[in-house]
Symmetry: none
Subunit: 407 residues, 2 copies
């Protein structure tokens, strides 16, 4: 069954000027997905009455459900109420219930109310009020002939609760919960998107009503698998057979490594040069990791590598700080001095300066020391300084993941 | 003079499903603003050939300039090339120059190339190639009768350099630089948005044709000042007088700290507990910082604090690891053991677990040791684990900034 068409409109000149980034589309899409509705179309328009009327009319013609965010404030460039009134050809009328809600909120927080706030109580005739527990602007809903228009405030912390409490129940009642399909999300690390696609496509094609999408970030290819009926697990098993250790599962690389460490009761310590603390930062985003992560060291200076980790100064002199020998000595040194089961080390040239013909910007040596063995891997990453840091940190985390799975 | 109408199109079913948030609109808007062009309209469409053709036609009818991001990958649901060909009624032709660029990139990074990558070299007839130095997908431009269509890849780190190097110069040449107004951007750290607004509003109101906008992120309030003619500097000086040390200037907190360290030839070392490496990560995003940053230590375990920094075990036992005493001992310990001019330390409870009535989640002690003095500051930050880490890291960087400016 085809889901109804849903359109999302974002209003706000600040979005079109790049002063802020709209996260409401993503929040709305994820919320609607839980009741089986999909956003089909999204547009962003300026704070301009005529343009907003045009966007609302266009969206209402294309979609059965229109959810608009923004433009509900009390100032003169908040046009949503007037635009909806014009688009649906209903006059704006004063709604005492909305006015009472606005006034009592200001009283409760003892905020002085500007007289212009009275504007927020004028809504299109016969519109339903959507109370806003976290802000002054009430939202509203206009329904006619099985079509729905919802106006919600722009700030996410006001918008999201209203979406959950008011909009989703109304749509679920009107359309029924259409969540027939099931989703599975997984990640592949260390394989380019094109190669992942060549593996996933024929597997998914064998099953009727199954589809997938790939997105890429920081060297990870994210797979979203969707099956119309039944469980996605047989497909996941087929993917796992083909992708092997490249397939991570639904969690992020750092969560996967964190889970493995905690489950296997292994401790870890990290020595970072060019990644500058990013590996530690990623791993400490995992709640509870303090039971496994003993310490991280950002040893930018050679003195730090020698004094803290016992990397011989002679080794650095002979091979350079960016070398497989020093990477290995750093991984062994951090595991030994921190008293950890596993040690990770990264040394490289994040750029933009510091590169040479033999050691170009982007060159990174990664080492993992675990169970008496040290594995060293070289990569040259494309991109600027943040990109090289991110790729190298992820690659190091993946090396640990593989070491823990094998060990 | 009215700027030409510019439309931005984002493509990608993942955007409409809420799998990722589109930041490209904001980046494009800010870049265009520098040559006096304003985005007037933005739409997001799914990876669907017919829909994409429809969006391109609609945008091209409404705007003289259309910039589309996404859908340039090698897989079958990357439709931008075909959709543009159809919308502009030009056949797709194989462009050997694009193919050579793709192949040489894969060779340079020794990545195995999937045969489907060849698709990326088929572009609409007479389209100009926009080289992509940071990815495999070349972009393209279609011009006719003074109207412009640019197709750029979706990943920001590929898209932004192409926008800067290829799109802006072409548009500036075609339309002239229409930037009559001038912009100034600054940041305020450590003051709530409402208070910043109360200071900025009357100062900006005194000057005709001047306006401003505020946005907030991670405890920083960003000010964008816009003046219609003349220089924004008199206004900036007035802001500086009122905001004092709270005003950072146009650069980020970490860049500001990095610049100060390098200019004053001071060295620094960092000891982090709850921020888990994030301060080091932020500071090492500054190119050239290796001259100032000696080392960072993520001392998650008490043993690490004692063994590496000389924090007395007795001190930790008596006051707890999250205490002003331990924060100060960490800052002094890292400066001493690393041999650095300045030492930063952070210890706190990032959550979600580990909090108590006396020491709630979000409690963080920050310390800076510099020129024989140690300053300790307590804060309780709202939000989840990533938010607490980010706020605490920024607060610590701000303490160093203030110490360096005073010292």
């Amino acid at each position: 069954m085809r889901a109804s068409r849903v359109a999302v409109l974002s209003t706000g000149t600040e979005l079109l000027r790049g002063r802020s980034v709209d996260t409401n589309l993503a929040s709305i899409a994820r919320a609607l997905e839980t009741i089986g509705l999909e956003v089909d179309y999204h547009a962003t328009g300026p704070d301009d009455l005529d343009r907003l009327v045009e966007e609302i009319r266009l969206a209402s013609a294309r979609a059965e459900v229109v959810i608009l965010t923004g433009g509900l404030g009390p100032t003169e460039d908040d046009f949503t109420r007037r635009a909806a009134a014009e688009a649906f050809e209903r006059p704006l009328v004063f709604q005492p219930a909305a006015w009472n809600a606005i006034r009592s909120r200001f009283r409760r927080f003892r905020i002085p109310m500007a007289s212009i706030n009275r504007r927020q109580a004028f809504l299109p005739r016969a519109a339903g009020i959507l109370p806003n527990p976290n802000g002054s602007a009430p939202g509203f809903a206009v329904e006619s002939a099985g079509r729905f228009f919802f106006a919600l405030p722009g700030p996410p912390r006001e918008m999201i609760p209203m979406l959950q409490k008011r909009v989703l129940p109304r749509l679920a009642a009107a359309f029924g919960n259409r969540a027939r399909f099931r989703l599975w999300e997984g990640r592949v690390f260390g394989m380019p998107e094109g190669s992942v696609d060549e593996i996933v496509r024929p597997i998914v094609a064998r099953r009727r009503g199954a589809s997938y999408g790939l997105t890429v970030s920081g060297g990870t290819v994210n797979i979203t698998l969707r099956v119309e009926r039944g469980s996605p697990l047989p497909l996941v098993r087929a993917l796992r057979r083909k992708l092997g250790l490249f397939l991570i599962g639904p969690k992020s690389l750092e969560e996967t490594v964190g889970d493995l460490l905690l489950r296997k009761r292994q401790t870890i310590a990290i020595a970072e040069s060019c990644t500058g603390g990013l590996i530690s930062h990623k791993l400490t985003s995992v709640s509870g990791i303090s039971a496994a992560l003993l310490e991280g060291l950002v040893c930018y200076s050679n003195r730090s590598k020698t004094a803290r980790l016992g990397v011989p100064a002679e080794l650095i002199r002979r091979h350079g700080a960016v070398s497989p020998e020093v990477a290995a000595a750093m991984a062994e040194g951090i595991a030994r001095t921190a008293g950890a089961d596993a040690g990770i080390a990264v040394t490289g040239i994040a750029g933009p300066s510091g590169g040479s013909k033999k050691k170009p910007v982007g060159l990174v040596w990664h080492a993992v020391h675990y169970r008496g063995r040290t594995r060293v891997e070289r990569r040259v990453f494309p991109g600027d300084r943040p990109a090289v840091k991110d790729r190298a940190a992820n690659f190091a985390l993946d090396l640990v993941r593989r070491a823990l799975l094998k060990g």
